[in-house]
Symmetry: C2
Subunit: 143 residues, 2 copies
């Protein structure tokens, strides 16, 4: 690109993938640290979260508290890894990503490996990306 | 509001609810008619759909064909009703909605009533609302 041509303002596919990657890395670290506050911190105040049971949690405080609850009980000591399968800018400053999740629980009633697919809606707020919607569904074959 | 003040340009909460309602009514009609093409028609060409099995369908053709497949087999003769629980404009021309679904299958291996929660991402394209992401999860208590 010539230096007389500034880069386009809209996010490229690469920017969308990078945004999703940054957010997923944050969520992974928070989960693996068992830190519900840190998990919630990347969500917008008014975010929606639909979990694998189909339950709808509205707002960052409910999302943070709900995750601390599972980190302290059924998912204690569990680890996750996430990878984006797709990431698209659907409007300026809004990215929709679909990602795969792998959760390993070392003990308890959910001991084992669980895989899921989730949709994330990311919005740019003051130069950083935040999650404003998240829905997670377990892959059927493992139910 | 004084007539000297024009209405704000951004969508109001009422606009978001109305957008979600229109799209949900379209999806209900298409499902109840068993019409996969009509079901797919309200999605963007590049939409993402994650179904209750956790399977990821990328693009309108896959979404339409996948629905025709279930309308012709396991969900033949079934009816759905949808209602929006929340609808928010997350950026100009982008609405995130969370809705409840009730599906009744009259016969077959899935005979009965199934409830779910789903997240919809709606984008405004040439003055109409289209679905660019949809993820659906069955409520756990009925599994």
């Amino acid at each position: 690109m010539s230096i007389t041509q500034p880069p386009a303002k809209s996010a490229t596919s690469s920017d969308s993938t990078s945004a999703a990657g940054e957010v997923l890395a944050h969520l992974e670290r928070a989960w693996n640290d068992g830190d519900g506050h840190a998990f919630g911190a990347v969500f917008t105040e008014d975010a929606d979260f639909v979990d694998i049971r189909g339950d709808h949690h509205a707002g960052r405080p409910a999302i943070a508290a709900g995750h601390q609850g599972i980190f302290d009980s059924i998912y204690r000591g569990s680890t996750v890894s996430y990878s984006a399968e797709s990431a698209r800018e659907v409007a300026p400053g809004v990215v929709v990503a679909v990602a795969g999740g792998r959760l390993e629980a070392p003990t308890g009633p959910l001991q084992g490996v669980h895989r899921s697919h989730f949709t994330l809606v990311l919005v740019e707020r003051q130069g950083t990306w935040a999650v404003t919607a998240f829905q997670n569904t377990l892959l059927m074959e493992q139910r």
